[in-house]
Amino acid sequence: MTQTRKRIPIERVSEFVQDGDSVWLGGWTVVRKPFAMAYELIRAGKKNLHLVNNPGGPETDLLVGCGCAAKTETNYIGHELFGHPYNFRRRFEQPESNQGFRHDDWTVATGSLRIMAGAMGIPFIPTKFLRGSDILNPELDGFRDLRGIDPKVPKRKFMMLKDPFWEGEEVVLIPAIRPDVCLIHAQEAGEDGTVRITGGLFLDYYAAVAAKITIVSAEKIVSREALEDTREENAIPGEAVDAVVEAPFGAHPTAVHGCYDNDPWWFRDYLKASKNEGTMQKWVDEWIVGPGSFKGYLEKVGARRLGKITADPELSYSATIKRRLDKLEEVN
């Protein structure tokens, strides 16, 4: 077996990400998002990141809001039913806050195909989706002025080709996604990087393989022997992972199957704060800069709130938490 020990402390994550890198953020909207690592990137003041994911959640809105991202390339950025991605929106709706920000719209299926192509090392893949939609409208291509110039952006958004093999249908060729860095949060990982994920892998395996560098934070670092016992549940081989971080509650405020649920208090506060630049900056100071570390952040969240969102082991989610922000009761 491979002998490499890849464990690093969370403070070292930002060394693996360079300004300007394309970064895939694993998970799905408000589930299993690599928040502890995203907070590190913000504290390290990363700039000009090109964020790719499928789809993006609060971590993406936050990185946009903190000025870390110059480009987003995804099918969705939002908080599901909790509310709207105000930082992301502001870049569009208020030209003065745009700051050269660019966004390229895709879809869940085509993003899946594109990161699969990236994992396979092939430059493109055909699809039957996108025909008839403005998502391919060349006049509405958010990356139009970057194509052929920015090496992290494909030279074209798509190409049509008539199938030469079967019925001769016109299909759409779409480019692979090739991230520089992939950040994933998982339930368990081994010292060698093997990753166990339950209750939904999303596209994390493909992204881990497609990226040049992959870092996984996990609720728990487990032994090789434990991972041998869960073989059919292990989702990513250690060979696709460059570093692992032990970070309990490392996806907070998003949910982790079998571990904890969404933190509605976080969403309530964040949504209120993110509605304008000023309150947003105050929120960042209070919740990210101030605590100074992920440990400090969790202490600020508090054991009672973390207890409230802890999952029922049988159900894999919290059976008691309330999720309506307008009727939320305080915990303290």
Binding site: G27, V30, I77, F92, A109, F129, F202, Y317
Partner: protein
């Protein structure tokens, strides 16, 4: 006596009735999820409820907050990724019904969930397609559910996120029928807070099939709340929710009022 249910509830019940037992239904986050679970817990026990992120043949005990929610995979027997759900099942034509919300719809059932106004500098930017464009493209039929407002039922959507019956040509310079760009399926119904709209088999334009008469909705209300001219000639009153439908919706599907906002 005033009805003891809301337009939101009528909308969810009306939508749930369009789902059939035995069908594979690909459901989006939000109100579609509520209506699909209601169908599954009433008349369509054998419906296979699928969500793009991970849930396949889902039968949740507690209402999922999104399509990746651990509630959605409780006691399922398969946890695919969006590669399997969207690329293998949907793209290869194996999904019977796509079930979607949106911000704008037009007479041909084109859906916009991207932005209001010009794409480059919109009045309002939304979260984006998610899987909506994919689902509307290749499900065998699509059901749309949304609030009935004039700014939502528009002459022409500001951006075609999800193609309806008449959508963009492959040169993106004109509009053509969806079959001309290789798409099967198409919008089957738009279920709103005022009634249920379907599409004329030959013109592919939206018409009113039923309206929520019992809730005081008139066909004139629909006319006024719809920006484009809509055929009202076939409109008939909607059958109100049954006691069972309301009880299951309120007590089992969304007791917390997360989506139904009681």
């Amino acid at each position: 006596m005033a009805p003891n249910y809301s337009r939101l509830e009528m909308m969810v019940v009306a939508a749930s009735r369009l789902l059939c037992d035995g069908e594979k239904v690909l459901v989006g986050t939000g109100i579609p999820l509520v209506a699909a679970i209601l169908a599954k817990k009433t008349h369509a026990r054998g419906m296979v409820m699928v969500m793009e992120a991970v849930a396949f043949d889902s039968d949740p005990e507690s209402l999922p907050f999104c399509v990746a929610d651990p509630r959605a995979v409780y006691r399922t027997t398969w946890t695919p990724t969006s590669a399997e759900v969207m690329c293998h099942f949907l793209q290869s034509g194996k999904i019977d019904v796509g079930f979607l919300g949106g911000a704008q719809v037009d007479r041909f059932g084109n859906l916009n969930s991207t932005c209001i106004g010009a794409y480059g500098l919109p009045e309002k930017r939304f979260e984006g397609s998610g899987g909506a464009s994919d689902i509307a493209s290749l499900a065998k039929r699509t059901i749309i559910i949304m609030n009935h407002e004039k700014r939502r039922f528009v002459e022409r959507v500001d951006y075609i996120t999800s193609p309806g019956w008449k959508c963009r040509a492959l040169d993106w310079k004109s509009d053509v029928m969806r079959a001309d760009v290789g798409l099967d399926g198409g919008p089957h119904a738009v279920v709103s807070t005022l009634g249920v709209m379907k599409f004329d088999p030959s013109s592919k334009e939206m018409f009113v099939e039923t309206y929520y008469d019992d809730l005081g909705v008139s066909i004139d209300d629909i006319r006024h709340m719809t920006e484009f001219e809509i055929d009202l000639s076939r409109a008939r009153p909607m059958k109100p929710p049954t006691r069972e439908e309301l009880a299951v919706l309120r007590e089992k599907v969304d007791p917390e009022g997360i989506y139904m906002r009681y």
